[in-house]
Subunit: 307 residues, 6 copies
């Protein structure tokens, strides 16, 4: 390395190591604290899928006699990974180690994790309705097995239902990470705090966004690119957004929303409505409505080359 290159590197390291350079974007590590691990969370999601949909994932061999062994082992493994990651999530949120009792937090992690395990049967029950809805709603689906095994929306909804269960128990950070994993894999971004009823389906799904305070009834169907978002939000006296205020839509039962529709703000889309694609909706919609975009224009080539 010529002196020139070497000096550049040396001085960059020096600059990058100055406290004023890194202090606002650095995560300090405290003794015996743990960082959440994306790899462990992937294992957690994969074990959850193996438990909920036995025989589809992992190299299992499911027969009536063997299913209990697999569910037993996978649940035990899920439990111990969960304890570690919930503990890591608690550590992550801690910004000073004094008063953060490690044993107590470990106990809390055990408690949260076992609560999570105990709601898994209900998570499966609701997911069963989602699979049913996806199967009935897609003429291209050949069997429920294909829906479970291949449909990205089922992966995203599974992550959401797992993350939502964790969030309701009080687990920090981990639910968000689990939903971002599905977001990256499927392009579907469901905030774990959203409330979503049964028989929920998403078709194709890339670009779907469901905000934190959204409430969806039963039998809602969304197509790709649908946004259930916030329009704006009040700021506090310091100019920071006020957290926790309901700011996303309420979608009642049996609503269908077509591709790329953007529904913003704490409005209500009444039951049995159909929202056409590519619309921008910022006001409530009565039950049974059918909203579509204003008709497009046909502009002739006169306007110039291209469009």
């Amino acid at each position: 390395m010529t002196t020139n290159h070497f000096e550049r590197i040396k001085s960059a390291i020096e600059e990058l190591s100055q406290e004023q350079s890194y202090k606002s974007v650095c995560h300090p590590h405290f003794k015996d604290h743990k960082m959440p691990s994306l790899q462990a969370l992937e294992k957690i999601v994969s074990l959850s899928r193996e438990i909920i949909f036995p025989g589809y994932y992992g190299d299992s061999s499911i027969r009536p006699d063997s299913v209990r062994y697999y569910i037993g082992v996978n649940t035990e493994k899920l439990y111990s990974l969960m304890v570690e990651q919930i503990f890591a999530g608690l550590c992550f949120m801690c910004d000073k180690p004094e008063g953060f009792d490690l044993s107590e937090r470990k106990g809390q992690a055990h408690d949260y994790a076992s609560q999570f395990i105990s709601v898994l049967p209900d998570v499966r029950r609701v997911l069963t309705t989602d699979v049913e809805a996806a199967f009935l709603g897609d003429p291209a689906a050949k069997s429920k097995g294909e829906v479970i095994f291949c449909y990205p929306a089922i992966r995203a909804i599974t992550n959401y239902r797992v993350a939502h269960a964790l969030l309701k128990i009080g687990v920090p950070l981990i639910p968000r990470m689990i939903s971002e994993m599905a977001h990256s894999e499927t392009g579907i971004d469901i905030h774990p705090r959203a409330t979503i009823g049964e028989y929920f389906s998403i078709d194709h799904g890339t670009g779907v966004v469901i905000g934190a305070t959204s409430i969806l009834g039963n039998n809602v169907k969304l197509f790709q690119g649908v946004t259930l978002g916030a329009k704006s939000f009040p700021l506090d006296e310091k100019g920071n957004p006020i957290k926790g205020i309901p700011r996303h839509p309420i979608i009642e039962d049996n609503v269908v929303i077509y591709a790329q529709a953007t529904i913003l703000g704490r409005i209500t889309v009444g039951a049995n409505s159909i929202i056409g694609g590519n619309v921008w909706v910022t006001n409530s919609v009565a039950s049974g409505s059918k909203i579509v975009q204003f008709k497009p224009r046909d502009v002739l080539y006169a306007e110039g080359g291209g469009i």
Copy 2:
């Protein structure tokens, strides 16, 4: 583990192992049947790319004399992986093992796989036109090599052309899995049953959806977020969607469709048309049309803070 946590886990395992809990979301395994493997399919896609575009993938060293060795080995490996995965696909579709002759199905898998190999030269020929179209259509592209090596749309179209070839031969499930792999990687969701002509290009691509019965002519160009979807579909007397009915658009030659346009139903977009972005189109469009969204409004701040 305190008794409390332990009891929660034990009882959850018990509940999850009850047949009535898992039976509709469980995949039973029959003797000597195989499950499709995502990992093997990734290898299949990667070998297909190495064969079609020699020298871009894998740690090959391509010279005129060595190219045959690489194509030979990769084709042999592709063949044997294909046999296994096609066989697994046949197993997956089987819901009772009686009457499912394993040897016969293995033979069928060999037949399908060798048919697939024999259409690879044609798959390459058509992909060459797609590369050409992407290169000509993007002022930012520096060379065809860059297009092949870096453009996600080429990855997605390659998976589609491979999956479509398999589907035409009669292979179940595997085509869908291959197209979902591209969907996850690129956000482009092309149903393997769709019919797409030569010189096909997609720019950026995230959010593109092309439904199963779509028919696209030659020289079609789509931008990100374009949907070629179904508007609605008839139900049979039991309320289930009737499968196989043409329900997606026909896009004729030389059509360009801009970002986020949603084209729904068995309509025809006539040759040489241009469809602007963000439009909702549910009626046929004559050849040479140029359709754009109705002009947006400029609403002043009077309407209130935010939008």
Copy 3:
């Protein structure tokens, strides 16, 4: 293998190995040239993140005393991986080996890589503003740490800022590959040539496209599905697109653009404007404007089943 299958494979290999079949889609390898490696680029991106945001990635243990060790080692590793990949990028662009002096290009790679290292402190400084903007703009964000650790937009913007720095230095191909990695992971497609100011934020982000000649001011916020694209581009006398002409929008300071808006062409969106979702904008917009889609229609069920 029956003769039949065997013959199909043999003849496909033969056909695929013909020069006329592969020549336009083949990358020939020259002596001692290297191919860029996606795996190495992933390591590069991951090291860059570890250096910029110390303590969030890798199994580090960051204390004031140890931070310099980690930054030192990671920077050294980043440097040597960069040299290899930049060299591979230079090789990739070379279509005939004569006159391509390997030692000289290796020296160039060292020079480029050390220039890159020396701008890392500035890359961090600007990313710090982006983190700040994301935190302030999202009522759901609990801490800056959560933003850095979990938000896909921060990953995409980090890749963009790294890729942009490389592109400005003159590195070919590699910047594009780095931005495509973020595209695949997050659905956000920012061309490394785009110019983007400080305090830049993207919410959710799937489907965002920012074209090569776009110019964004400070404090711009985009939502998912926003396109800053080209409307059309002039062709040269041979019908090829003329490269390098400004063809993407200029977005001035403090602009917010809502989901799925499509802004096309070399137009200007004036400072402090708000662009509503799902609009199609092909003309410049004055400062302080607030543009929304024309109101949708409510069509009753009379129009027929479905939508």
Copy 4:
């Protein structure tokens, strides 16, 4: 590559591809035959250890209630891996595919594998005596747990007992591969055909060789480097060794053999004997004997520099 290097490679490939060059060292592949996989066998050995010694290997969490789940899952997995590898072993031994009925052999593999599973409880019972012997015989051993977890001889004896069980059932090739895996890992080479009683122990173990027709009683202890080998063997009329003739020693109960002793031929070492290290024994030894090497000489430096 200069022509010179290129020509060398091309001509070497040509020569290496000539049938007369490779035919006696080539393994031809028949349709749907499988090759044994070292990786799968490693998984088999590791599952066997997890089943036999619950809680020591794998990331299990063994409690009285959970042990059945782990044993259930591991046994199921062991069974299906075994079926594949036994089938591969049968294929390997086949030198012409005609008359080799794949379905029938697959059935045979299932039968052999399930026989193997059914002797696992007995394998564990005997291994328990071996652990006991190792613990009692080593003053450095702190607990039986340490013996099970750390002692290479226990790994080697476990592989032997598994391999021996398979060999007795009639499985070809696989037993040999399993014992070679232990040989590589521990330097202990026990032929799977050898017959070995209970409470068997080996201390340190590197270099131990126990030949195919050896018979060892109960409570035998060997130190490192001990050979129980063949002295010579009769040839048939073609000069080939006659296979299957007893040619290795019989070691009766309660014998101890010290380091590097070489015991050759079908001789008997009587019960309760002690064989000292570094001896060469080719004749039978009466019960209760104590055999040591003839005393070494002390040669002074007079004999010359060095030794």
Copy 5:
């Protein structure tokens, strides 16, 4: 699976899950206890090598300015892995969880690990003498670098010196595991409790065994297959070996022991002695002795075919 196979498996699982079957070979897991991980220990050994011999292992780039960064990071990583593994070692030795305070033991692990880090400079200093001895003693060695990088004995001695340092600090189990790793890799089995002076060398090394209470002076050289073992050991009233009694040889300074020599019992081999290969030595040897095996016989073919 036919009922037959299935019944075999089911009944084997049942039998293997009976407490009386597994209880003496099972390791129960207590809440929040950890098992030692072979993979983590391999990382520990590899980090130790990187720290002691900078620039030979890992993908480092060592220059005078960068060496501190690498040693800093590797030492930090070594420390945190050590804490985890020492804690796991303490857990492993615990047979009932009551009275085993996890926080206290974690603190003990921190203390042991930091003590270990603080003796690393001395471990390096002594290993430097071992490298020197190997280089001087082997005419085939081209450089000290080759000795460090390639010689298995240096790997084994490094593991020994690391394990011995841990054992002296009081760490349970882990030292034994580290020495078994070297045993498996090199065939050299040095008990971590043995005491070994400076300038220690082993040539080739396969089969070397050095027992727990051995004491070796400075400048000792061993060849392959040398045993420094125990002859016999007293039993207590219950017939168990009495632990901790000195039972292995004392080898004084400047002794050379040739291949396969077996030296047993608490005897002394006096300084400057040479022990020839293949001898069995159970009595002390005076300083300056030169011991060789009694001359072999030349037996003619008269004795029969073979040997």
Copy 6:
């Protein structure tokens, strides 16, 4: 971390980073030099095995028509890995970068690697004789295929013949690393400089050592633990061993040497001799000799408990 632990670590890092501490055990890295990679060498050995014994390793499917493809690809890959590793070996031996012309050395690496490729057919030819010898000499061998696939001695001899070929061409370091890989895997340590004739076999093999200047004729058979070593070697005036002097045995044609025999010094074992196990031979042996250990003594229990 308490101050105490922290201070220990900080001061150890400081001490370990002092130049006087590391300078004699540190490998400095020069610009654009490479380190040999054990992982790459494992790939090299594995490719060599795949080329020499087609169909046994890798996931190949060998038929008369496909064998050329596999050999072509494997040879191309072997060549390019070889170039890199030979170049790295040349770098390793360089202790100052001035005058070490990287381009020239890269050219040398190409030349050495292509020479190596061109002797591969002869390496295969000789290995074929070794396989034949192992098969004929072992009554337990069922087929040559089993010998090639399972016998550790064939792995060790293959590595030796590859390493010896490289050493004869002039490649530094790499041959030694390749032979140490076999040593670790099999316990057989053959110096790559040794000269070994055809039809060479080793049975079991753990502990075999063959020194650098050994010369073995045709049809030699060794058992486990045999040493062909150096007795002593002259020192130069500085007390360093004089390198390169013949100091290991010459073993003539048709010699058999039994387990643990130690043959030392530049002596000759005449053709057709048999050397019994556990002997110490430091003088030449006439052709046709049959040497065995002096008979052991039977010492009764009178001598005391144990042996």
